[in-house]
């Protein structure tokens, strides 16, 4: 009748696990620790009496009973960094504004001097319309005319007006199942400003495009995987000195034949890599960021090699699982292999072709990709379904539903290290630390000061606190919430991004063990508080002691309808009560869900004055 509690730890002393994640070294502060210190400072910055050399309890903070000197010094340091950052930002903004003015002036002169041959370029990052708009409006540096390709050599992809004058145009095949290129129909790229001011011109050009239907006799086309880098401003220099590579063509999979008619305001995703590839690319960038951060901070917080291996292994699995809809290009593959992969995809889905007869340009892009971003991502985009994946479209809406939370002790003051060690020796303690915190999946990238491919959703930074924004300038990213975009945070297991802690077996092995020990420790303290601890009843097991204690919970297969039976079997008023097996399983499900999805777990009481706690 009673459910047996499968406790694996029944002794009070809990040994420390010898995990690579575990660490008691508090000098190894994680990224979040540093941020938290800075955020706390806002609440306490006025609480130090310089004259008296004392700390006063804050009247602004939400909750704190004690302020440690170590924290104070840290906060002073962080404050200096913060205001330094602020000053730097102001200077940077001034530089940007001045640069924009200069560029605008130069551009106006160029337009006036060479209006007929001003082709502009298409080297913009299309994954962020805000960034693109900003680049076209203000911050973009002037490009010397001699670096711009001839107008007739680059094809444009037409972007709806809502994309703020996107400068690339693509031909729309009427039968896109086996597409081919039509170099003679290529349109040259105009300068983005000019394009931006010529929305009607774009529409006209779109209607004028003539795309040949698929032909069985069409010559084979070699496709080259392109990454986002290929159309980013960072590749301008490469574009200026292209290397010839015949038949180099990028492939774009559309959302369907009527993508622009169905939703003209939809953000153009076609230039983004598929989800898995993008995540791989993001991870690569994260590692770069991490390395740069480590070099900058010199904290010696190195990666866990075993974990990296696990991540790579998992990433491969993920890519393989999603191969049905996307194609992941292996590292340093040759053109033939790439072509085969692309053609496999072509057979499955209708495609658009990035038509460009500027072979040199594409070859240089390819070379640039291999040099800078060898993760093998292609320009294949997810299918329609994948593009609606909320994980990929989880910007402001998700962020607005989360708050930064950190538990703060309700004790009067921290215990001495000696006392803590005593407690640790007697009861054990939590020692788990995730050393891969900074490499966990993220979708937010901000690292202009480190020059590390700032290319992702800049606009979402406004959802974060000011301090996090400042730190993001240095450290490059925020952890993000990949569960929050699903109803009730029910993310399908296969949708966990690569590197997520939920899929990191090494992480989980230690984390779950320590979690069980923590919960068991909490229950043991409950028992000991009321005289049913291991010292009080040394001969009894945990389950026996729990059964004798006030916390005895009867888990019943069926509810006792009869009052006498209820009293007989459970003794409601004498112990902790009872629960049905079904309800217990339901409670376990809710708790498991909270753990896996990092959800909240809340208890609410409705009742009268005695329940309210009136005396």
């Amino acid at each position: 009748m009673r459910k047996v509690l499968t406790a694996t730890t029944t002794t009070r002393m809990i040994e420390l696990p010898s995990s690579t994640y575990s660490s008691n070294n508090k000098n190894n502060k994680t990224y979040s620790d540093q941020i938290d210190g800075l955020e706390d400072f806002e609440s306490y910055q006025d609480d130090f009496d310089d004259d008296a050399g004392e700390y006063v309890v804050s009247t602004n903070a939400v909750r704190s009973q004690y302020i440690r000197p170590r924290d104070y010094r840290t906060r002073r340091l962080f404050a200096a960094v913060k205001y330094g950052c602020l000053l730097g930002m102001l200077m940077l903004m001034m530089v940007v504004v001045v640069g924009a003015l200069l560029w605008s002036n130069a551009n106006a002169n160029a337009n006036a001097d060479n209006s007929s041959s001003n082709d502009g370029d298409n080297h913009y990052n299309l994954d962020d319309k805000n960034q693109l708009k900003a680049a076209s409006d203000v911050t973009r540096k002037p490009i010397p005319d001699n670096t711009l390709p001839p107008k007739s050599e680059i094809t444009r992809i037409p972007i709806p007006d809502s994309i703020s004058g996107a400068p690339i145009e693509v031909a729309v095949p009427t039968t896109p199942t086996t597409p081919t290129t039509t170099p003679e129909n290529n349109e040259s790229v105009e300068h983005p400003d000019e394009l931006h001011s010529k929305a009607t011109y774009e529409d006209e050009k779109l209607s004028q495009q003539t795309v040949e239907p698929a032909k069985a006799t069409a010559p084979p086309i070699t496709t080259v995987p392109l990454s986002i880098d290929e159309i980013s401003p960072t590749n301008n220099a490469t574009t200026a000195t292209p290397t010839p590579t015949p038949t180099a063509t990028a492939q774009i999979v559309p959302n369907g034949d009527k993508w622009y008619e169905d939703d003209p305001g939809k953000i153009w995703y076609e230039d983004e890599p598929p989800e898995d590839e993008e995540e791989e690319q993001i991870d690569e960038e994260e590692q770069e960021i991490q390395q740069e951060m480590e070099a900058m901070m010199g904290n010696g917080n190195t990666m866990n090699s075993g974990s990296e291996g696990a991540e790579e292994e998992h990433g491969t699995t993920t890519a393989g699982e999603s191969a049905a809809t996307t194609t992941t290009m292996p590292k340093n593959t040759d053109t033939t292999t790439e072509t085969e992969n692309q053609q496999d995809t072509v057979d499955e889905e209708p495609t658009f072709w990035f038509e460009g007869d500027n072979e040199d340009d594409h070859a240089s892009l390819h070379q640039e990709e291999e040099e800078e971003n060898d993760n093998g991502s292609s320009l294949l985009v997810p299918s329609d379904t994948e593009m609606q994946d909320p994980v990929m479209d989880m910007t402001g809406d998700v962020h607005s539903k989360r708050t930064l939370y950190r538990y703060q002790s309700r004790q009067e003051k921290p215990l001495s290290p000696t006392k803590n060690q005593e407690l640790h020796d007697t009861w054990g303690s939590w020692t788990f630390v995730d050393r891969n915190t900074t490499t966990r999946p993220t979708y937010v990238y901000l690292c202009p000061l480190l020059n590390c491919n700032c290319k992702k959703k800049v606009s979402v930074i406004g959802k974060f606190s000011y301090n996090r924004f400042l730190f993001s300038l240095f450290f490059g990213h925020h952890r993000d919430d990949y569960c929050g975009a699903y109803p009730n945070r029910d993310i399908p297991w296969e949708k966990f991004p690569r590197g997520a802690w939920q899929t990191d077996v090494d992480y989980l092995t230690d984390y779950l063990q320590q979690s069980k020990e923590l919960v068991m420790r909490a229950m043991e303290v409950h028992l000991a508080e009321y005289g049913f601890g291991p010292d009080d009843l040394p001969e009894d097991s945990f389950l026996d002691r729990a059964y004798q204690s006030p916390f005895r919970l009867d888990i019943l297969d069926k509810p006792p309808y009869d009052d006498d039976e209820r009293r007989l079997t459970a003794g409601v008023n004498q112990y902790a009560g009872w629960i049905t097996t079904k309800s217990f399983n339901g409670l376990v499900r809710r708790l498991l869900h909270a753990i896996v999805s990092r959800d909240s777990f809340n208890v609410v009481l409705g009742g009268h004055s005695a329940a309210a706690g009136h005396g």
Binding site: R402, W427, W493, E529, A576, L592, F601, G615
Partner: protein, 645 residues
């Protein structure tokens, strides 16, 4: 000295009066030296000592280590049951409730339909179909809900059985500190009573802030049926231990999976919640006894989650769920009634009575031991649905037009508010911080519950509230009608409506006749839709002046209730001091649309003689869960098939 002895002898006899009359209590405190107070009186608990918040104190660090944000919210209210809050559970209790505890056996013992309504609104209102947790009173209902709607529930006990009883005071030290003075043999009952409470009203702050009102030594007042902090701790520990036990099972389950990979069906909750909520919304009237409430409230409260705004505290997201948050500003200054503010800011200094003495087992010290807690981005408490929807929808706003005199309806200037100080920080959690007003004699008492309201009289003018996301035409208003004359301080010294600051515009005759016709038609339709209400009887305060008129306005409709009608068919005394007025009960009022609608309320004819408090406004939205029985069975079967798969 004789005076003190007099007090000492008679206070036990009149202890019950002390609970009722805090004024008397204050006088007694002033007359009695502190040592005598300590001897004879029983004290109140701090809010943080209540068992609901003891759950939070215990579980929060454990959950925080696991990356879970946890809070417990104590929304218990003195002298009331739960129905006034349960009627709008999704906004007042919140939408992210995982476990919903009902503990109102004394005030709702004979109101089993009310308890059933509490359970159903709690299940339908939360996004999470919470586990219900209650005591013996729910023995009959909960098994039925589980059988017919798969509802999860638990029955809590008091945990007092194994607690050792004190038979010899010299052996008290042999009992663990937490278990002391919980049970005493008959000859030592006084010993337990002396140690029943542990509280303090004020601790000097490092910033040397001094309260303007003299603080008591300890929280005062007592009631024989109220438990002390030690008992509350036992209750809280029994409940937190139950949750910890389930938590262990959950972690162990994950740990035992191959490659630590969980099947979605093991931990996903969307279909699980939907199954429960769909079945609850479509329960047969024969299941439970919620439908027995039909003589007091419409049975839609058993099926549809209602939205609510209130000035009662505590409540979830208080800044978004107050009546003031939906009030239309009045006058050129855009005035909205403003409550008092706290006289000092959070946090309070560390209160040693909330901890454990040196040398005793310190739960927090053991559990918190380890590296610093990490911060993480936790899901925020979801906003009320009306606010969430309002940001994404373009609902039509039905504005008010003219009143029964043909004058334009504009917000009045004479509305006030009575509530806790800084009520926006009254969310019922451990860290809530309200009620620190300048007139408080025990600032560390910290309790949140207060029966607040927006106050108005016949000089106040119209109070206009914008109800968003109304889909079913059901609007109810809870008001207090018994308050004293001249209790609204805003209209003090006024002799005419709005203090004569602006006159309402008269419409032309054509408009007036058109309005009257529409008004009459709509009233007739509405009156035919709803059952009559039970009248409020034997209430000496329910005597209104001859010209008394209470008016509700929405759209082009005015409901005017005169002296004889105000406690008539549209009024219902749902529980003691819970007065509900039906403003609108016409489910097809919006023709299936979701609309925002302005609701106006005013009194006329009695100057400052009668003061009403609006405490709650409830309105309904169409529930997607309410489907036909046949469809319900199909949906449920399909969901269960998916879950089992």
């Amino acid at each position: 000295m004789g005076k003190f002895i007099y007090v000492f002898l008679f206070i036990p006899l009149f202890g019950g009066l002390v609970e009722v009359c805090n004024v008397c209590m204050s006088s007694i405190y002033k007359l009695t030296p502190p040592n005598l107070i300590t001897f004879w009186t029983h004290h109140r608990n701090h809010f943080q000592q209540s068992y609901a918040l003891q759950i939070q104190r215990v579980l929060e660090p454990v959950f925080a280590r696991l990356g879970i944000k946890h809070y417990s919210r104590n929304t218990g209210m003195g002298g009331l049951g739960t129905i006034q809050n349960a009627m709008g559970a999704q906004d007042i209790y919140g939408r992210d409730v995982d476990i919903l505890i009902w503990d109102s056996g004394m005030t709702e013992k004979d109101h089993s339909p009310d308890f059933d309504l509490f359970a159903r609104q709690g299940l339908l209102g939360s996004d999470r179909a919470p586990v219900l947790w209650s005591g013996e009173d729910s023995t009959k209902l909960y098994p039925d809900l589980q059988e017919h709607a798969d509802v999860d529930y638990m029955m809590y006990g008091l945990g007092m059985g194994p607690i050792p009883s004190i038979s010899d005071p010299t052996t008290v030290s042999d009992i663990p500190w937490a278990a002391r003075y919980l049970k005493c043999d008959n000859e030592w009952k006084g010993l337990c009573a002396e140690n029943r409470y542990n509280g303090t009203c004020w601790i000097e702050r490092p910033d040397h802030f001094q309260p303007p009102t003299k603080q008591r030594d300890e929280p005062g007042g007592r009631a024989s049926w109220h438990d002390g902090n030690r008992v509350h701790q036992v209750y809280g520990r029994t409940m937190s231990f139950t949750i910890l036990r389930a938590l262990f099972e959950a972690i162990d389950m994950w740990d035992n999976q191959p490659d630590k990979r969980l099947a979605d069906k093991m931990w996903h909750v969307t279909a699980y919640y939907k199954n429960i909520q769909t079945k609850v919304a479509n329960l047969s009237p024969s299941v439970g006894n919620c439908h027995e409430i039909r003589d007091r409230l419409p049975v839609e409260f058993c099926k549809i989650p209602f939205q609510a705004r209130t000035e009662f505290t505590p409540r979830a997201l208080p800044e978004h769920t107050s009546l003031r948050s939906i009030m239309k500003p009045a006058g050129k200054e855009k005035r909205i009634p403003q409550p008092k503010l706290n006289i000092y800011d959070a946090p309070d200094v560390y209160n040693p009575v909330l901890g454990v003495p040196e040398g005793e087992i310190d739960y927090l010290a053991i559990i918190e031991n380890g590296p610093d807690f990490e911060s993480f981005l936790a899901p925020a408490t979801p906003l009320p649905l009306a606010i969430e929807k309002a940001s994404t929808s373009n609902s039509r706003l039905i504005k008010l037009t003219v009143d029964s005199d043909g004058a334009a309806i504009v917000p009045g200037l004479g509305w006030g508010v009575t509530t806790k100080s800084s009520p926006n920080m009254c969310n019922g959690t451990y860290d809530s911080f309200c009620g620190r007003s300048d007139d408080q004699e025990c600032l560390l008492y910290a309790h949140n519950d207060f029966r607040g309201g927006v106050t108005f009289d016949s000089l106040s003018g119209w109070g206009i509230f914008t109800l968003k996301n109304l889909k079913e035409g059901m609007i109810y208003v809870k008001m207090d009608s018994w308050h004293k004359a001249e209790e609204n301080p805003v209209t003090k010294g006024w002799t005419e409506v709005n203090n004569g600051e602006y006159r309402e515009r008269k419409l032309d005759e054509h408009q007036e006749s058109s309005f009257a016709q529409n008004n009459g038609d709509r009233q007739e339709e509405i009156n035919g839709q709803f059952l009559l209400r039970r009248e409020l009887k034997d209430d000496p305060n329910a005597i209104f002046c001859d010209d008394f008129k209470l008016e509700f306005a929405f759209g082009d409709t005015i409901l005017a209730l005169n002296k004889d009608e105000v406690l008539g068919e549209r009024h219902s005394l749902v529980q003691r001091v819970v007065q509900i007025w039906t403003v609108l009960h016409k489910p097809d009022y919006t023709n299936g649309d979701t609309v925002d609608i302005e609701l106006g309320i005013r009194l006329t004819g009695c100057a400052r003689q009668h003061v009403f408090w609006v405490t709650h406004i409830y309105w309904a939205k169409m529930s997607k869960l309410h489907v036909s029985s046949y469809r319900s069975k199909l949906v449920s079967a399909f969901q269960m098939m998916i879950m089992s798969y």
